[in-house]
């Protein structure tokens, strides 16, 4: 086992990994940018190394600085978390070259799975179904137009190197295809420096269902069942649950086997996730593989009892996987809500500022994976994910009820967050029925965003009582005049802004 591990990340995931290391008796090193000097992950670690400039490229994405920090502190391994350098093969190579173990798969595998076209071709050869489409190297516009017509509409145009919804277009009609290809190429070029596109059939009532796998260096591979991640906004997950409300035992077995053989085919090691799309007829198609720890790994942990992060560390240190597929099972139902610093009513625009009150809900079967605390400043430099709220119950209904309770008791004030919106989703009757697709938010919440929210009189009473309590006798409390810069919603006044899609 390693004696010391460096965690090349920040926020809730750095804390999650730090705690696992501490429980295993492994010393820890945190890294931090100037913006995170007072962050909880720095406080928690045994040692910490500053990275300087808060710009991601100068800090958490800076391979040299992080490798230097590892060498300097004598770390034997680096855990990359998710995001930042987690799926960067150059980083994994750099670790190898400095004699530090990268906690994840081999660099060559990261590279292969990172290219969506190559990954799909490899999976197709292995006999795993992929979404009908064009995943080839020919990129002339006329050729792509012809391929698009062959696949049929609606159609998805995607950047091969893409992620997070960038360089992605849905094309409903043939006439829209040319514009979509040109636009996606431009966006892909500027975002990823690579304008290779792929075309895919757009599925009916698509669901995003993924399988967690664990593989050691001795050829042992298991899966830890599925996670249903269909509730998304801007192509990013918001709510995840397991088991999926539509998967049958038979389908679960089939998909699980496909996931395991996909991992086997590429010689995968460590924790990974195979993402599938499932359509209304329960056909499943390989979408991509995430060669890292997922944000939503806790729901698998609470239903299987397996600690994925600890297994990542054990596997990386050369230990054998002692979990056996036939002995694994799931108990109950788990849901995760991602708490984001964003305003759902304003196009999910990220918010920054100081969190003046943070008090997460506590209770049986409630887990809080958090990177925040009262008084902390949320900056615009990094992802707006503040915390994850995970609950489990005997069954889906029980878990939903618990999540609604937990969200209703989640005090998170000072900046706008999505907690009220999450509660709206969970209490939606279609969600209760398990009738969800990746379009759920677009389909059910268009009017919700437009509707003018009425303010209950109780809110006005509470606020005026608070202000009266805090007012000095005879002196009216000083009030601020709104200016353009802090008008509570400059976004609205700006009028013509739109999130780049």
């Amino acid at each position: 086992m390693f004696k010391k591990i460096l965690i090349a990340n920040r926020g809730e995931i750095a804390i999650r990994i730090l705690k696992a290391c501490q429980e295993m008796g492994v010393k820890t090193v945190a890294v931090y940018s100037d913006a995170d000097a007072c962050s909880p992950h720095v406080q928690l670690a045994d040692e910490s190394v500053p990275l300087g400039n808060p710009l991601p490229s100068e800090s958490y994405l800076n391979i040299q600085k992080i490798i230097d920090a590892g060498v300097e502190t004598g770390a034997e391994a680096i855990h990359p978390g998710y995001g930042f350098l987690a799926e960067n093969p150059d980083f994994a190579y750099a670790c190898e070259n400095s004699g530090i173990t990268f906690i994840g798969p081999k660099p060559g595998v990261i590279k292969l799975m990172g290219n969506k076209i190559e990954a799909k071709q490899r999976m197709e050869k292995t006999g795993i179904p992929v979404i009908p489409g064009y995943h080839g190297h020919r990129q002339e516009k006329n050729f792509l137009l012809k391929q698009g017509k062959k696949i049929g509409f609606p159609l998805l145009v995607k950047a091969a190197a893409g992620g997070g919804g960038k360089g992605m277009r849905i094309v409903n009609k043939e006439e829209e295809l040319e514009d979509a290809i040109e636009g996606a190429k431009r966006e892909a070029k500027s975002s990823f420096g690579n304008d290779t596109l792929l075309l895919e059939k757009y599925l009916d009532k698509p669901r995003h269902i993924e399988f967690q796998i664990l593989a050691d260096a001795y050829g042992n591979i298991i899966h830890l069942f599925e996670r249903e991640c269909s509730i998304q906004r801007r192509h990013q997950k918001v709510i995840e649950e397991t088991p999926s409300p539509i998967i049958t035992n038979e389908l679960r077995e089939k998909m699980g086997k496909a996931a395991v053989s996909a991992a086997k085919a590429v010689g995968y090691t460590n924790a990974g996730t195979i993402e599938f799309m499932v359509d209304s007829s329960l056909n499943f198609y390989f979408m991509e593989m995430n060669t890292r720890l997922q944000v939503e790994h806790p729901i698998t942990e609470v239903t299987t009892g397996v600690d994925i992060v600890k297994w990542q560390i054990r596997i990386a240190s050369g230990e054998k996987l002692t979990l056996h597929q036939e002995k694994l099972g799931q108990r109950g139902h788990a849901i995760e809500c991602r708490i984001y610093a964003e305003d759902p009513a304003n196009g999910f625009l990220p918010c920054s500022g100081v969190l003046t009150k943070v008090e997460p809900p506590m209770g049986p079967n409630i887990r809080n994976d958090m990177g925040i605390e009262t008084g902390m400043e949320v900056t615009a430099y990094y992802d707006p994910l503040l915390a994850k709220l995970i609950v489990s119950g005997e069954n889906r209904d029980d878990a939903i009820n618990k999540m609604v309770w937990a969200l209703s008791n989640y005090v998170l004030l000072g900046i706008t967050t999505n907690t009220s919106f999450l509660k709206e989703i969970l209490t939606h009757e279609a969600f209760r029925r398990g009738d969800i697709t990746t379009h759920f938010i677009d389909n059910h919440f268009k009017n919700w965003f437009a509707a003018k929210q009425e303010i209950p009189v109780e809110v006005l009473i509470a606020l005026s009582v608070y202000d009266t309590m805090n007012a000095k006798f005879g002196v009216q409390k000083e009030v601020t005049v709104p200016s353009v810069s802090d008008q509570y919603s400059p976004w609205k006044h700006a009028g013509k802004w739109r999130i780049g899609d």
Partner: protein, 166 residues
Amino acid sequence: MINLEFNYEYNNHVYKITAERAKENDGYLITFNGVTYPVTSSEVKPGYLRIKLDDRVIKAVVAEGNKNMFVFLDGKTFNMKRVLPTSKRVEKGNGLVSPISGKVVNVKVKEGMSVKKDDVLMVIEAMKMEYLIKAPYDGVVKKIYLNVDEQIDMGMIPIKIEKTGG
């Protein structure tokens, strides 16, 4: 005995409330829309209020933050702003203020250029996403205040555009 007047702005609407401390220590008379609500309130811990209105109990958490007031009640968060009674809402101005803090990654126009409504003027990157700033109306670019790679703060005016054609 004191009388206080509060004006809170929520969703572009200003709510006017008068508050009075009642004779009992923890009693208040809150008047809104011509209705007076006699309440008693205790602060369980800073910001955590337990308010009694007739036989109902209102549990609320109040916090200030980023020049706004946040009230958490019944699992919902309300974000309000204190305003002066006489204050008017800020007019649209030239219509261009940054909705977010981030980094300028692309400036698509030059000073003196004519632009059409909805033309992309600038691209700002924040939190891994790109935001497009578009022209609010047809006009001429008078001044560009920010260049590529510069930091922009929320509320800053990045580009000045003079309206053409009324």
